[in-house]
């Protein structure tokens, strides 16, 4: 039995032996990615800023662009406790308290010169607003375009109200993708190379297969993965490096490690008491504290919705080199954040069954009404219509001022306490004669 299995469940922080090779490789990939922007040895490649939801990475990559995701830069700042300084600076520029933390972190950081502890964030040569479902995001990209004098490409993605994308929506998106291709040809002076796009898409597909294999390990009992807290680390390659061989290779390492965990009995916790589904953006500023609130109760997240914001690959979608533009359009339409609430509910209800989750924890964030609005109704629906114990808690993903540890802990303690109690009562009733 490994050290991890015999370690007390309530010990603080993340067990280092639980997160082994894959975590080390992920760190290396992050360092290399940001480090390359500061390199003086290589000629600078053009940089495009893009949003994670429904991103068009493959097309940009086929033109030799480096893609930067300000949301991911912002979450890296938050997890390293560097977001507040940027947010306060943005507020001093006039951005209000209620403006999204991602936006304020990024605009504050940009205005302060773009220097972070993990690297220098490069200036954009092009802004691609790949998710139009959030009006604040649209304004964010407009502000960046004005600030840098960089061209802005607005990708208009219709909201998904049905599980299968409509042909007219796909056609609408494909026509916009061709507009983007023409813009990129003009800006780079390079002709579009369909074979190069297909090659990139094939790499994406390979990474998507590996990522899905990792996520589905949460179906095992006990789960060898932490589908929320651990997946957050592994979202970097699927979102930022997708389309490169490095991303696909990364998941080979991850999945080998997961297989080793099962073989060695090395699980996220010594005892998996509760299997939970987590919905919502994490409180990055207090990520370890929040994780400890789960660990204390023997709760392992076996499935989560947030790691799917970069694509619902586990629901069957893959980028397809044989249908390059159509599959990119389907990908953008199918982004988790682009799904209507009835569709999101269905996904969550399916996950509860597939992953045998005992309960759902919803973490709402003050910053984002577009992601969070509706989570109160989701909570009521899960409890009353689905009979799934559900807890709703709220803080923020970027702004540490909104994370109240005592209040959150109290709610989580009470929730798990009641689950434990109900389980004990049910066991006693089952054991009673007659």
């Amino acid at each position: 039995m490994s050290d991890v299995v015999s370690a007390p469940a309530v010990s603080g922080g993340v067990s280092r032996s639980f997160l082994r090779d894959a975590r080390g490789l992920q760190r290396k990939l992050v360092e290399e990615y940001y480090g390359a922007f500061a390199s003086v040895d290589q000629p600078r490649r053009p940089v495009a800023y893009m949003l994670v939801g429904g991103n068009l990475t493959e097309i940009l990559r086929s033109f030799g662009y480096d893609v930067v995701f300000p949301e991911i830069v912002a979450l890296n700042c938050a997890i390293k406790h560097q977001s507040l300084e940027n947010i306060l600076h943005a507020e001093s520029l006039g951005y209000g308290l209620d403006v999204c933390g991602y936006v304020k972190n990024d605009l504050g950081l940009q205005d302060l010169g773009g220097k972070t502890s993990f690297g220098q964030i490069p200036r954009p040569d092009l802004l691609v607003c790949s998710f139009s479902g959030c009006y604040v995001y649209v304004k964010w990209w407009e502000a960046l375009a004005e600030s840098y004098g960089a061209p802005l490409f607005m990708f208009d993605v219709p909201y998904m109200r049905e599980e299968t994308p409509r042909q007219e929506d796909i056609a609408y998106l494909v026509s916009q993708l061709w507009e983007l291709v023409h813009l990129l040809e003009k800006r780079t002076g390079r002709a579009f190379d369909m074979n190069e796009l297909k090659r990139v898409l094939a790499e994406s597909r390979r990474a998507e297969d590996g990522w899905v294999e990792f996520l589905r390990a949460g179906r095992l009992r006990p789960s060898p993965i932490e589908a929320y807290f651990e997946s957050i680390f592994y979202m970097f390659p699927i979102n930022v490096l997708r389309g490169t061989p490095g991303a696909a290779d990364f998941y080979d390492v991850v999945n080998e490690e997961v297989r080793a965990r099962v073989r060695d009995g090395n699980y996220p916790l010594p005892e998996e008491k509760f299997r939970v589904l987590v919905e919502g953006v994490p409180p990055y500023t207090n990520y370890r504290t929040f994780w400890d609130f789960f660990r204390k109760w023997g709760a392992v997240s076996v499935v989560a919705t947030y790691p799917k914001v970069g694509g619902l690959f586990d629901r069957g979608f893959r980028h397809d080199p044989s249908r390059p533009f159509e599959s990119i359009a389907e990908y953008s339409l199918g982004a988790y954040v682009n799904q209507s609430w009835p569709l999101r509910r269905k996904i969550i209800a399916d996950y509860v069954k597939e992953y045998q989750a005992d309960a759902v924890i919803i973490h709402g964030i003050k910053s984002c009404r577009s992601f969070t609005a509706g989570q109160g109704d989701l909570r009521d629906w899960l409890i009353h219509d689905q009979g799934v114990p559900t807890l709703y808690i709220e803080s923020d993903h970027q702004d540490p001022r909104y994370f109240a540890p005592a209040q959150i802990k109290n709610r989580m303690d009470a929730f798990f306490e009641s689950l434990e109690q109900r389980r004990a009562v049910a066991a006693a009733a089952g054991a009673a004669p007659g």
Binding site: N410, D413, A414, E417, Q421, V425
Partner: protein, 264 residues
């Protein structure tokens, strides 16, 4: 072994302790104001309840801590959240309870429970003390009353004013403004109580209003608040002189369950 158990509830404003005998009879209880040294406050609360019960410390078999200061009840053997404890305490005193409304110093909670006193769902006020005991303290102070006086006075109102604010600090300004406009303090107080009842109703609706409703926590001793809640809900509200102790009582009951081999 004498199965005397105790529950110590360290809230944001007061410490409560209940000592329970073998037959689940309350042998002693205490209520004291919480200061800065929570560890000592917890010890004092236990000592006072033991003195009330004419018992000594070794005679207590099991102690459970609850409330925000529960982790400071170092001498206890079990820690349970006040949400589970109020649920259990309300079920003990009023077995027909399906919804517990706990209004304490800085928290308001609506807790839906089943027939065994187990928590089914709960909702709490978030990051704001509006609608809590502290809210009443501040407003009583602004009107020059002791918080203990305002409940009965609110019942003498002729025409309650509308207190629109949902913020403790702004409510104080609103009260001052009404005073300067010559409004009767009783009407202002009735408005304040109605404002809290409205706010509490919103929490209760989040978990589902189902009779019987049992009112717990320090504010349950305020008859003006009981009246305002009853009026807003349209159903009777269970309340008892012991309502303020239900967290501590529930803690003691959880302790008894653990002692007898059940899951607390």
């Amino acid at each position: 072994m004498t199965a005397v158990v105790a529950g110590v509830d360290i809230g944001s404003t007061t410490a409560k302790c209940v000592v329970l005998g073998e037959d689940s009879r309350i042998l002693g209880k205490s209520l004291s104001v919480v200061g800065v040294d929570i560890v000592k406050d917890a010890e004092r609360a236990l000592e006072a309840a033991l003195a009330d019960a004419h018992l000594s410390r070794p005679e207590v078999s099991f102690i459970t801590g609850t409330g925000y200061g529960r982790y400071k009840v170092y001498f206890g053997q079990l820690v349970v959240t006040e949400i589970s404890c109020h649920a259990r305490g309300a079920n003990f005193l009023f077995p027909g309870t399906r919804l517990v409304v706990d209004i304490g110093g800085q928290d308001t909670k609506a807790i839906r429970i089943d027939d065994k006193g187990e928590v089914v769902d709960f909702a709490m006020n978030d990051k704001c003390a509006a609608g809590t005991g502290r809210f009443l303290d501040v407003c009583a102070n602004a009107l020059g009353y002791d918080v203990g006086e305002i409940g009965p006075l609110s019942l003498q109102a002729r025409r309650a004013v509308k207190v629109t604010s949902t913020c403790t600090v702004f409510a104080e300004s609103e009260v001052t403004s009404y005073v300067s406009r010559g409004k009767d303090p009783k009407d202002i107080l009735a408005g304040l109580h109605a404002s809290i009842a409205n706010r509490t109703l919103s929490l209760m609706q989040r978990v589902g209003v189902e009779p019987e409703v049992t009112f717990t926590g320090g504010v349950s001793q305020n008859e003006g608040m009981v009246h305002a809640l009853h009026r807003r809900l349209g159903v009777p509200v269970n309340v008892s002189p012991l309502s303020q102790y239900l967290g501590a009582l529930g803690a003691a009951l959880h302790g008894r369950e653990r002692l007898s081999g059940g899951a607390a």
